[in-house]
Symmetry: C3
Subunit: 344 residues, 3 copies
């Protein structure tokens, strides 16, 4: 917890600390942050999305973080930023209360003899840590986590609560994993044995790079032969499914409920929309954006934005068009025939 949480800051001090220009009264005291619509007279607000520009005129905030083009319309002092959202995020951290964690092992935790736990790490109530696990300096393992066989948690990483690391999971430094996430479970490997399915052993692990964030109830399976790899600074939202032997490149962010099938590879700096899917064994290059609920059915070699799906329609209209979508090939052929002067 920063020592100055819940203190008050002068606007000009904030401008200086974060390298922003100040327009208006310098001495206002800021004691918190809020939205344009709700912030009170000692709170800082921000405007980063044009959707909310109409709220600027009536804001009661002490000041607003915005970009230069909006400054003229701001009825209160303004902190002018090249990237208002980023500037606001940094300022807001001053007002964040982070739960403190005491180094040491809670007496209710079950730690098998042999586990290598740094003296500065914190193992919370009702955790289970296997004999071959390693917990690094300053790492925080919240309540009810499982750290299984041959799993590492790197320095300053935090498992919030009820996280399961099943087997052979290597987590880098400063990684944040939210409750319910399951890392290192068996990949879904099956071979048909003639009479029933036979399980393909999953001999690999999972590697999570530094500075990653893994959302609540997200699942990342371990590899069949080699590791499933999440490179540094990857940000995964809640309920994402990452199958065995997937690789996700550095700085890629994926929104909730997205899923990547086995052995697919996603590049760096990609943005994968909510509920989107990537089929197995495909390759997606760097700097690709996939819109929400699209399905990636072929490898992508060029940066850009990609989509599938149909637009939302009123249901009766949708039904009429949906029937026709089953006739599309026929429609195209009949059109071509007409063009050739061959109407029926």
């Amino acid at each position: 917890m920063p020592a100055d949480v819940h203190s008050s800051y002068r606007l000009d001090d904030l401008a200086q600390r974060f390298g922003l220009s100040l327009a208006g009264e310098a001495g206002r005291s800021i004691r918190g942050v809020g939205t344009l619509a709700q912030a009170g007279p000692d709170q800082l607000a921000f405007l980063a999305n044009a959707r909310y520009a109409a709220q600027l005129a009536s804001t009661r905030a002490a000041a607003v973080v915005l970009d230069a083009s909006m400054a003229a319309g701001c009825p209160v002092p303004a902190l002018i930023a090249g990237d208002p959202y980023l500037a606001f995020a940094r300022i807001a951290r001053l007002f964040e209360q982070r739960p403190a964690a005491t180094p040491g092992i809670h007496p209710s935790a079950v730690v098998e003899p042999g586990a290598a736990i740094d003296a500065s790490a914190s193992i919370g109530p009702l955790c289970f840590v296997a004999a071959s696990a390693r917990i690094g300096p300053g790492a925080v393992i919240g309540p009810q986590c499982v750290v299984g066989d041959d799993c590492d948690v790197g320095a300053q990483s935090r498992l919030v609560a009820r996280v399961t690391l099943v087997m052979r999971v290597r987590i880098g430094a400063r990684v944040l994993v939210h409750p319910g996430a399951v890392l290192g479970g068996d990949g879904f490997g099956l071979a048909w044995g003639g009479q029933q399915w036979e399980k393909v052993p999953q001999l690999g692990g999972v590697r999570i790079g530094d500075d990653c964030e893994i959302g609540a109830n997200t699942t990342i399976d371990r590899g069949a032969l080699e590791d499933t790899v999440i490179e540094e600074d990857v940000r995964l939202d809640n309920q994402i499914q990452v199958a065995h032997n997937v690789r996700i490149g550095a700085h890629t962010a994926m929104a909730g409920c997205a899923a990547v099938a086995g052995s697919a590879s996603i590049g760096r700096h990609c943005l994968i929309g909510g509920g989107a899917g990537v089929l197995g064994h495909l390759q997606v290059c760097d700097r690709v954006t996939i819109t929400a609920m699209s399905l990636v059915t072929h490898s992508i070699r060029e940066p850009g934005e990609y989509s599938s799906g149909t637009p939302l329609q009123e249901n009766r209209q949708w039904r009429r068009n949906a029937v026709r979508s089953k006739q599309l090939d026929d429609i195209a052929r009949r059109l071509a025939a007409l063009e050739k002067g061959m109407p029926r």
Copy 2:
């Protein structure tokens, strides 16, 4: 547990208790409930879905709950209801065994000093309750739950098992939360810092109204500045994802695997189909139905039913049509040209 569970009821008593008309023998004894196809001669069945009407003639049930239009075809005594499904649900509750919960704190639970736990509440085995948590009268916290910092559980609410309330979660009265649900985790807020992602602090909470139900492995993130709000009597199925700052109006029901992106607002009395998605910052008005796996890509201002997607087809047919769907704009232009008398 109602005192009379597993007792026997006379048909005429049931008719009177639930305000139904009885056609046929009044004295039959009902000792349980079942389906039309499987109910035995001491069980009550129901018919509420026309799909199953053909099973009526051969039912061996003691009696059937149905609406007046079906009564003539009923070979056994009938309880006639305006809404047979509702009437059946109410009767079936007589035969439900609810797990009892003993007030008090199980000795294996870890409760930090300071937690405010009502004497009539039950804290189950292996739970963790933080110092600043509050548990109301008659609330039941099942095995292995986490009730984190600044979380409230209202009167008579029940966390079935292994529920995680991360931080600043206020749960109203008579709320039911199923296993694996994670409420109050960090919203997915990121700002690009030039070299890597920077985390946007999530300073809000989650508010759950009275009489809500939250399904297994559902996730509801806490807000960035203000709260994520689920109004009263909202019913969420399993594996639903609710992002930060979403608002869901009273009496709305969402089926499994639906997802709502950040700052979207859904009205009252909506029905959201399984796997459907709502994009961020959109507004959906009251009394909207979204069909399964549709994506809401724009705000909806009129009540009604909305859909996206294409119908299921045999794969070879689908492939032919799918290729053409990429040529649709071209097809439309060529058609317009033909109409103007300009064939190629």
Copy 3:
């Protein structure tokens, strides 16, 4: 754990043990398995997917499992198999380290008096087992599982960790359940009561056949009146949702994030792709394949492959075509008019 894990095997011994033909040097020692690209000179690789055929020429593996048609191009000794993937899976099991489980109840587990736990079963750390639960011979209940009221775990089955069996769940023999799975939660049954939703009691259970596998964070609700049934040898990947009263036939496999709505019935030997959905009350016959993210909107009576959805396109192209997809019915009508010689 097989006694011979991490031993070395001669190629000709492997050929004999698994009924394969050997081409090339018989005496090579195999100490592990790997991919074509990464296997070292004491590891066995395999080629089962034509996608990876180009890697064969440069492999450094000790030997490769492949089918006869590829043997000529193999630069190292080959084990020739009718089904190389299956043969490789079987060989790979020789090199799998399985976590050992000690029979007995871990002292940190909470087992209510009355629970019937076989002496050869293992109950891991921090588990909760209800009084009316039954755990069969050789079953392994990993850390932090909940085995609730009236739940059975069959012989040799394994709950890996943090699995929740809520109520009336009967698990057969040799079933494997991964972390975070929730079985036997309330089905999503609601009746509109005029002023608010009323809960329909869920009086059934869940039955899981022998040899099933249930993925991480998958949810299977218990039935309303009868049981939700998963027949033998069904394989469910992660984050699958199975609603109440669903039946899934033997040997069916479902990929990650698929979902089946209430009372739907899926046949035997089906393959359901990732993220696919099946609407409620539908019937899908045996030997049906559903491609990823398709929605099954009607019952399927013929074996075969079925799909819905549109292909991925570059976003600008997609937008142009998506607009037209809302005009499809109009386009079809105008085309028909033209064909009749009635251009505008």
